[in-house]
């Protein structure tokens, strides 16, 4: 029985290879039975991987230390929930989760589209199964989660497992990795459809309409995964930040950025038939960055506190990446005629242009993050010297880029499709600009001298101004027509075009998140060694250590330092930062920080250790202004994206400008344009 999990994975791998071959042959030779058998293989893979995953979870729950993975990532004292999360706590298990999620997505895609896109589906299935086969190859051979230490019912070699890293035993960490994987893996679906359309030269933009929801849902998962990770870093790691520009954190951000660019530029293709090559490049880049991100976390190419242990799979990933990249580049270059633009850009002052700049800025940000993450590797390869590229580099490069992007978030909605007149732009921008400048001036008057903070708050006010004016204009018209009150009219307006107004709510969420980011300009911190009854000050707070306590339960030993928080001479509460040492084969330590959350600022205490023979506690204290707004923005982002997914009440038509006649270039060269 110990080998059934491994057997299920190897069978899945064989079926994935079969599905690729059957789908390609069926699509090429137009043999329906081959296509259908390729699709059925997808369902079978889902069944087998569900069984393998269930078996691993069962082994974790029942402390079956005959399996090396269970012995390495679980122990008898861990709570059941963390025994479950140990499924993705290690390299092999997390790859199994990746494969299982992909098999779920593939099964749903094949089932949903089994009667649609018959000409394209074999190639979509083949693309999905190529990726599936690659990941199954990894967990079938070099990194199997079912390596057996002993056979039989009795095991004597391992009395208890090593346990899960205590830092991972936290509620957001229970959902952060699967959420992020749902994002990473989900981008494979629009990529597969893009490849299907490219291979078959499918007429129209069917693949975009089909995958829009997939892309949006995937983007939502990726956003949630990133922000849950930020929340975990803030509450668990004890260094007081939510984003450290670690290579693995960056790896999760890269496909999110290109995915965001794709979600914007794809509108140009839907509405105007433009930027087809660019969209193909963007969705392919998003897919490759997902694979690269997965590789960076697992291969040991870059140093990261989040990475899994070094493993020999980097050459598998690099081979797969280079081979897939070569195929995609060939397909795009070979089918440039199929990707020709259907209409022309009529004015530089148009929504189309603003999307171009939005894409440029997003990609510049993506490139600078990728460049900074890989520069230590490049530097070592070229100069032999490995250097560090840490947060100050990324902040210096990305803060101006981020501010420019924020500006475009406000500018875009006010510029019309096709062309805008300077007069209409003046009218549209007047009040939002006044709001932005006024905000910056008021803050300056109150003593804020941080340039980036002034710019950021000013731009946030500007963007909120533009979005509010959009809602106000639309809702006023509806209210006047239907006699509804303005709030009901806003709901009606949003329902009529959920995609547009849901998108605006996502933009508001981004503004709210930027407000939270900007608060970092005013952070305060202090590290002190304090005995019982000692006091120290940070910001407007006076902190006094009440006592130092310690104890033990069945899972860990703990040390508490209850600290009184005084504000303006009044006791505002007691905070209790804690240190833990988990019981298990490896005595791993962790800090449980104490956070007093308020809308205007958080007070954050970390119990960093004991000194002076246990008489003094080392306390790190931080004041983080506005950080709570990041988490509020997170919920607004979820709400906005969910609204985008609701079907609009009114179906909008988007006529395209087509060139009628013949193109005349230089008076000599003539080519026939599309009509």
């Amino acid at each position: 029985m110990e080998n059934v999990g491994a057997l299920a994975i190897i069978l899945s791998f064989c079926l994935a290879v079969y599905s690729v071959l059957a789908s390609l042959a069926g699509g090429w030779k137009k043999r329906e039975f081959l296509i259908i058998s390729g699709e059925r293989a997808v369902y079978a893979i889902w069944g087998l991987l569900t069984f393998a995953s269930a078996y691993l979870v069962y082994a974790l729950q029942t402390d079956d230390f005959r399996l090396a993975y269970v012995a390495g990532h679980s122990n008898k004292t861990m709570p059941a929930i963390y025994k479950f999360t140990a499924w993705w706590g290690g390299q092999e298990g997390s790859l199994l989760l990746w494969s299982w999620i992909l098999s779920c997505y593939a099964a749903v895609v094949v089932f949903q589209n089994r009667r649609k896109f018959r000409f394209m589906m074999p190639y979509v299935t083949a693309t999905l199964m190529i990726v599936q086969a690659f990941f199954l190859l990894l967990i079938s051979f070099p990194l199997t989660p079912f390596e057996v230490l002993a056979v039989g019912k009795e095991i004597t070699g391992v009395a208890d497992g090593r346990g899960l890293n205590p830092l991972l035993q936290y509620w957001t960490m229970a959902i952060h990795p699967p959420t992020l994987y749902l994002g990473y893996v989900g981008f494979v679906v629009p990529f597969a459809f893009a490849m299907g359309s490219l291979i078959t030269r499918a007429p129209g933009d069917a693949w975009i309409h089909t995958t829009r929801r997939w892309t949006l849902v995937t983007w939502l998962f990726q956003s949630c995964g990133i922000l849950l990770g930020a929340g975990w870093a803030y509450a668990v790691l004890g260094w007081g930040g939510y984003w450290g520009w670690d290579p693995v954190e960056n790896a999760s951000l890269l496909p999110w950025i290109t995915g965001t660019a794709f979600l914007h530029s794809v509108m140009m293709q839907e509405k105007k038939g433009m930027m087809k090559v660019w969209n193909m490049v963007l969705i392919s880049a998003t897919f490759f960055l997902c694979i690269l991100g997965t590789a960076l976390t697992r291969s040991g190419i870059v140093q990261s506190v989040h990475a899994f242990a070094q493993s020999p799979i980097s050459r598998y990933f690099s081979t797969f990446l280079f081979a897939a990249l070569a195929v995609v580049i060939y397909l795009i270059l070979d089918r440039l005629d199929y990707l020709k633009s259907e209409s022309q850009l009529e004015s530089v002052l148009s929504r189309e242009s603003s999307f171009l700049f939005n894409n440029l800025i997003l990609l510049a940000s993506c490139f600078s993050i990728l460049w900074g993450s890989l520069f230590p590797v490049i530097s070592e390869a070229v100069t032999g010297e490995k250097i560090s590229v840490d947060a100050p580099f990324f902040n210096r490069v990305n803060i101006p880029i981020g501010l420019f992007l924020l500006l475009l978030t406000g500018v875009g909605p006010l510029i019309a499709w096709r062309r805008s007149s300077l007069e209409s732009l003046k009218k549209a921008f007047l009040w939002p600009t006044v709001a932005g400048l006024l905000t910056a001036a008021i803050l300056f008057g109150f003593g804020v001298r941080h340039l980036y903070a002034l710019m950021s708050f000013g731009l946030c006010a500007f963007v909120l101004g533009t979005i509010s004016s959009e809602f106000w204009k639309g809702a006023s018209a509806i209210a006047a027509k239907t006699q509804q009150n303005i709030f009901a009219a806003m709901v009606e307006l949003t329902h009529r075009n959920t995609r547009r107004y849901g998108g605006y709510i996502v933009h508001v969420a981004i503004v709210i998140i930027f407000i939270g980011f900007t608060g970092a300009a005013f952070n305060k911190d202090a590290t002190v060694e304090v005995a019982v009854n000692d006091s120290f000050k940070i910001g407007r707070y006076e902190l006094k250590v009440q006592s130092l306590k310690n104890g033990e339960n069945q899972h860990y030993r703990w040390w508490h330092a209850p600290i009184e928080v005084h504000q303006d001479g009044q006791l505002a509460g007691v905070m209790t930062p804690e240190q833990r040492e988990y019981l298990g084969v490896e005595r791993q330590g962790a800090s449980i920080v104490s956070i007093r959350r308020r809308l205007h600022e958080d007070l954050y205490l970390n119990f960093a250790g004991m000194t002076a023979g246990g008489q003094k506690a080392v306390i790190q204290a931080y004041v983080f202004p506005l950080v709570t707004w990041i988490w509020i923005g997170f919920f607004a982002l979820i709400a906005g994206t969910l609204i985008c997914l609701v079907p609009s009440k009114v179906k909008y038509q988007f006529p395209k400008t087509r060139v009628v006649g013949q193109v005349v270039r230089s008076g000599k060269e003539q080519g026939v344009a599309k009509s």
């Binding site: 260094w239 600078s368 250097i387 960093a608 006529p655 400008t657 060139v659």
Partner: protein, 105 residues
């Protein structure tokens, strides 16, 4: 992460040097001497490492150039009527397009 294997001894070393009156620059120089330039949080602005700083603005500039050429190519070209097409029919099409485009969101 506070209390990690690197942070604790590094903090103690900095505290000791501060107690002895070392300047910030001297402390940084001591870390670079013992650990190499990887002790610095950003690449030094010298030689090959200039690339780290210059590539992001270069990428933005390259993007702007590409956008310029793309816009130039994508601007409405001059069109000549298809032989045999009635100019009135063409005008009607154009007006219809104008009307449709004006109703875009």
């Amino acid at each position: 992460m506070l209390g990690c294997h690197y942070s604790k001894p590094a903090r103690e070393k900095i505290r000791d040097m501060q107690a002895k009156g070392s300047s910030d620059d001297a402390i940084v120089a001591e870390f670079v001497r013992s650990e190499g330039r990887r002790a610095l949080v950003v690449p030094p602005a010298e030689g090959f490492f200039h690339l780290a700083w210059w590539m992001p603005p270069f990428a933005v500039a390259l993007g702007l150039v590409m956008i310029y050429f793309w816009i130039r190519r994508m601007r409405q070209p001059q069109t000549a009527p298809i032989p045999g097409m009635d100019p009135k029919v063409l005008e009607r099409y154009r007006e219809s397009i104008e009307r449709d485009m004006a109703s875009l969101e």
